[in-house]
Each structure stands twice: as C-alpha cells, then as structure tokens.
C-alpha cells in the first residue's frame, strides 16, 4: 500500500486537530525518518500550484491548511465578514501568560495593573490558555499556561517560535529546527 496516500488521508481526517510525528509513526508503522520523508514528499507535491492545500506544522502537530496565496478566494467564499480577532486586553493577558507561564491570576493582575479574572476565564473557555496546576502560595491559586490551540491560533509551530521579548532572566537559545511554522519563509521540509 502506498503510505503517502494513507498519510494524506490521515491529515485530511484529523483536520485542525493535527497529528504528531509520533502518531504518524505508530499508525503507519514506520521509523521517524521514514515518516519525515513521507511528509516531505507530500509537502513537495502540494507545492505545485495545482494543489490548494499544504502541510503546516502548528501547535506541535501536522495539519492541512489552505494556502495563503489563495486568501482572497476564501474571503469571497466566506463572505466579507471580518474574522473575529482578539481584543487588546485579551492579547495582553495572552502575552503575559505566554512569557510567564505558569502564572497565577494575581500575578497577571499585577503586571497589567488591572483585574483580569473575567478575561482569564474567557480565554480558558476559548481553549487558548488552561490551568496547568496549583501554586504553592496561600490559597493554592490556579496556575495558567498556554495551549497548543494558542500556538495554532497565532500560527506558531512550538513555544520556541513565540516572538522574542527582552526578558532579562531568560537566555535565548538558538535552535535549528526541522519543522517550523508557516511564517518562516523557507520550506523547512526541503532544507533538511
């Protein structure tokens, strides 16, 4: 059986949930190397402008997305309504959580200088952040962290793709990665 076809089917079926390299290996009974090669081959095929989809690595999983070159057509398809985007306050809370996770709501409030409980709850409900544990502080408040939906929402492959900020205590580590988000210009699958 041609595993390339199976892989394509898997990616179609799984949709925006995405599939990890590990699951691909398990499902297709291949080594990681083979799985990567299959992904590369499929990726190469989709590069042709005769195809409307591509493989993206978002939120630590592989998934099919449409091509951004075709965005105008999708706009026509979906009507003129603007995509729902997050408010500045929401973005602020997300950014604070992303760079400080795990973090309590109180610490978020302090950084913003304003109460954030409602926004935190809303973002939790949207699945962009989640509770990742309890703090040892009095009252054992919830600790929050970002989710893979968060990464996907911003088109990021992994946490390492977060925009860099000048964080005094955090050293930036340089890493060359095989799979990157859709915004890195080079097609990473070909580079390797």
């Amino acid at each position: 059986m041609n595993k390339l076809g199976v892989l394509e089917g898997i990616l179609f079926a799984i949709g925006d949930e995405g599939v990890t390299l590990k699951s691909i290996c398990e499902i297709l009974d291949t080594t990681e190397e083979e799985a990567k090669n299959l992904l590369k081959n499929l990726q190469k095929r989709y590069e042709s402008d005769a195809y409307g989809i591509r493989i993206s690595f978002l939120g630590n999983t592989f998934k099919l997305t449409t091509k951004k070159e075709h965005k105008d057509y999708y706009q026509k398809l979906l009507g003129t309504s603007e995509a729902q985007s997050l408010s500045p306050s929401n973005l602020e809370v997300l950014a604070i959580v992303a760079y400080n996770e795990p973090i309590t709501r109180l610490e978020i409030d302090n950084l913003r200088g304003v109460a954030s409980g409602y926004i935190v709850r809303k973002l939790c409900a949207r699945g962009l952040i989640k509770t990742v544990g309890k703090s040892e502080m009095p009252g054992r408040p919830n600790l929050y962290g970002i989710t893979s939906e968060f990464l996907d929402y911003f088109g990021l492959a992994t946490r390492d793709d977060l925009p860099k900020i000048e964080h005094p205590e955090e050293e930036t580590k340089e890493e060359t990665e095989l799979f990157t988000s859709i915004y890195k210009d080079k097609e990473m699958l070909n580079e390797n």
């Binding site: 179609f12 091509k67 995509a83 500045p88 306050s89 950084l111 200088g113 925009p163």
Partner: protein
C-alpha cells in the same frame, strides 16, 4: 491634551493610560517627570468624570499612587523606613520598572496581532467523524449467538402463554397457604426442582400466588434458591 479622542474605555488599564500619556508628551520612561505626568493623569481622569464615564477603581488607585510618589519627592524624605504597603506602587523606581515591564508586553501584543491576522489567512477544517470506523466496545462475557437464540426462544415460549385463550370464566380461589402446601409436597418427593417447573399452569393468579408462595417459603427459611450465573436455571431445594 486638548482634545480627548480616546476615552478611558480604550485603555486596558492605568498602566496603558500612563504609557499613552507619556508617549503623547514625548517623554521617556527613564527620564519620567512624575510631577508632569501626575498632572496629566489626573486631568485626564477629571475630564472623563466630566463626561460621566465610569472609572474603574484601578485608575483611582494609580492616581493616588502618583500623588503619593510626587508628595514624597517634594518632601524629599530619606526613606523613613516607611512600612511598605502591598497596595499600589510606592516609589518612582517601582513605577518606572512596572511601566517598562508593561511596555514590553504591550509591544509584543502587536506581534501577536500580526501573527493572528496572518494565521487567519489560511483555513483548516474540523476533524472528520471517524465514528463508523470505531471498534465496538467488547462485552467481556462469553455470550454467543446461541445464547441470543435461546433467549429469544424462551421469550417466544412465554409469549405464547400471553395469547388469550378461549375459556369460560370461572373463578377459583387460590390461596398462598394451599399453594405453599403443594410446593412443599413437590419438594418432599423431589428434593430439588426447577423454578419454572413450579409454574405448571400459566395464568396470572396462579403465577402470582406461586411466586408469592416461593417468596414466603424463602422468608421462612424453608427453601434455598440457587442460580449459578445470570439467566441460568434457577433451582429450588428444601433446606
């Protein structure tokens, strides 16, 4: 600050408002003039009050912090070992540090905004329902098709008795005491008997009375009722 194009609701908090005022007056956080910024901040809050816009308490806390810092600078007190309160910002350094920190997140929000809109240029689909491929949950009993057939046969047998029979209606009183005596006799001669064997005649009063008799005898500790597993034969024996 002559025309207020931005209302307080456009800011996400007092730090946001402060940053905006600092930018407006082309100041630098490092060389922040507390006196000036405090005046602007309070003027702004006042102007909002004039417009009857509700002001969140956080903004007022910040205003009081600013005034507090300003007054301390005027008195030029040499840190009178003042008890640090945990509410609000106490010193100029702290204010600057908080502003710088906040500005950092504010800046990165623009990056996130870009990332968000770029991501919205491509589309994904929700996962397929793979329900039809799902393996059914296996029951961990060794039930076979034969059991099913048997169960259905039993059902049909019982069903037969439900058919109304052509009959003359005569009423015969059936007492539990009498039936109990009958069952006792059966058990005396046969020791062990199948539960369903006791229901020789199938009609409602007979079944009910027989069943009640069996229950009665069980209660009186006369008989044992045994069944080795679900839907198996039920046997009744004398104690």
């Amino acid at each position: 600050m002559d025309n207020f194009t931005l209302t307080i609701n456009d800011f996400s908090g007092p730090l946001d408002l402060l940053l905006h005022l600092i930018k407006e007056s082309k100041m630098d956080i490092y060389s922040l003039k507390i006196e000036e910024i405090t005046k602007q901040y309070i003027d702004y809050i006042d102007s909002m009050k004039k417009l009857n816009i509700d002001i969140a308490s956080e903004y007022l806390v910040m205003a009081s912090s600013l005034v507090h810092i300003k007054s301390k600078m005027l008195v030029n007190e040499k840190d009178n070992e003042e008890e640090p309160e945990d509410e609000g910002i106490q010193t100029e350094e702290e204010l600057k540090r908080r502003l710088l920190e906040y500005e950092e997140y504010k800046k990165v929000c623009d990056d996130f905004k870009d990332l968000e809109s770029k991501r919205q240029e491509v589309h994904t689909k929700i996962p397929e329902s793979l329900y039809e491929y799902r393996e059914d949950v296996k029951l961990n009993t060794d039930t076979t098709l034969d059991d099913l057939v048997k169960a259905f046969e039993e059902f049909l047998k019982r069903k037969k008795f439900e058919k109304p029979l052509d009959t003359k209606i005569t009423h015969r009183e059936l007492s539990i005491t009498k039936r109990t005596g009958e069952i006792r006799n059966i058990l005396k001669t046969r020791k062990r008997v199948d539960f369903f064997e006791l229901f020789e005649v199938i009609n409602k009063p007979y079944v009910v009375v027989t069943f009640l008799s069996i229950l009665e005898m069980t209660k009186n500790n006369e008989i044992n009722i045994k069944q080795s597993k679900n839907f198996d034969k039920i046997t009744i024996e004398m104690k």
